[in-house]
Amino acid sequence: MSLLDIQNLTVQFGGLKAISNVNLSLDAGQMVGLIGPNGAGKTTLFNAITGVVPKTEGAILFDGKDLSKYKPNQIAHLGISRTFQNIRLFSKMTAEENVAIGINSVADYGIISAFLGLPDARRKDRETKKKAQEYLERVNLLPYKDAIAGSLPYGIQRKLEIARAIATKPKLLLLDEPAAGMNNEETLELIDFIRNIHSDNETNMAIILIEHHLEVVMNLCSDITVLNLGSVLKKGTPAEIQSDPAVIKAYIGERRKSDG
């Protein structure tokens, strides 16, 4: 059974069909890419999966469960985690605290323990702190643990957002344009970074990667789905996609713009 199974999904806002009859499925441990020109519906697809926008038709099944029956925070607990196009870190908290929320988005002790500062609560706080530091260490961000997230350099913020997302131990990680705004060097680093977290995790984590920097997608993903104007244009391996005339045509305007 696939981990994620999107069947005939349509998402409509008023008169606008942001996503039209999209089929996509993913097995545990796979890393697939989702590309397409701006406005193709890629982020909307992420929003639909995570429960932020309601579906109009079709079904999204995760681990066999129908996601439309769950609220966004419940979907997170089912094992889906994501990053955002414009970074949404908890900007006034430290890097360590950001990751800690990922580890414990629900407090593991009651409010009485919290108010009284009972030893049980304090111990659990220390444990979470330690785990957060472990995650930061794994992604080479430990030196930044006490830095306020909003003050960190852009590339570090991107990595931190990803670190926070994997701290929830997701089975499915949705990365939304992680390389946005990065230069070539940072992009290469990011490719390694993503490859590492993909190969070294406890849940056989699958990843869907939205990216405009095509070299990132081509490098990392085994399968790529191309969206255009809300529908699936083509699915295939990187080689197949790169040489497909329809894909090239859909992108040609985009390619020229982003070449600059």
Partner: protein, 292 residues
Amino acid sequence: MTVFIQQVITGLSIGSIYALLAVGYALIFSIYNFSNFAFGVIMMVGTFGAVYAINLAGAPLPIAIIVGMIVAAGISLLVELSTYRPMRRKNSPRLYLMIAGIGVNMFVENLAIQTIGSSVKPFPSNWGRIILNIGDISIAYADILSGGLSVVMLVCLWLFIYKTKIGLGIRASAYDVNTTGLMGVNVDMVSLAVFAISGLAAGLAGVFYGMKYTVYPSMGAVSNKAFVASVIGGLGSLPGAVIGGLVLGLLETMVSAYVSSKLRDMIAYLVMILILVFMPNGLLGKSVKDKL
């Protein structure tokens, strides 16, 4: 039956004041996506401007009304230029803008209380209180004026927003103020226009309110109804604000007359809560979702 019609007229009269206030409020809200909590004192200062025009300068009523509107617009611009704009430039979160607005409200209202005294005063012109009797129904001149001028003002506003270049800038900004700026629209000009118009509406509404009821430093609290009216009509919608204002005025009057006058002020908040729970986009509004 005549009693009912009388209530409807009263309702529409206060409703037109609410509608003006709601439009003034909604204009700023729809573009800058925050509530101008200083709106109340803008209305109050404009009203007092009109009052002093009559008392100190002996101005005739029409001139006083214009003075009130201009004073209110002036204060509105002052608040924008001294407080909101610098904060927007610094990318301050909306919450801070609103708190600053509360600060302005606190400052100006209490300044007025200390200098003028908190007591309630009648508007220095009895013209508004002259009653016209049509059969069994009495309408005060103030009602006719407020109803009539509100319509005129709203029509002018509509023309301005839909038929002028600055108006186009305003409408574009209502979609996305940043992009509009990037496309070459003079966003500073737009902000001045918006705050000025908002002030004009507040001043006019304040004068009508003063003519119909009384004038006092804390009268800005009436503008909270503007907020409620906007919610009823649908946040972010100008026509909605007008409808919301009229609906609120009618509802308040009806409840006050047929149920209990003590409930009058609570009605506004009650209706707002109900609308927010059952019809979150109000009657006409578009939902402003967090763009992911």
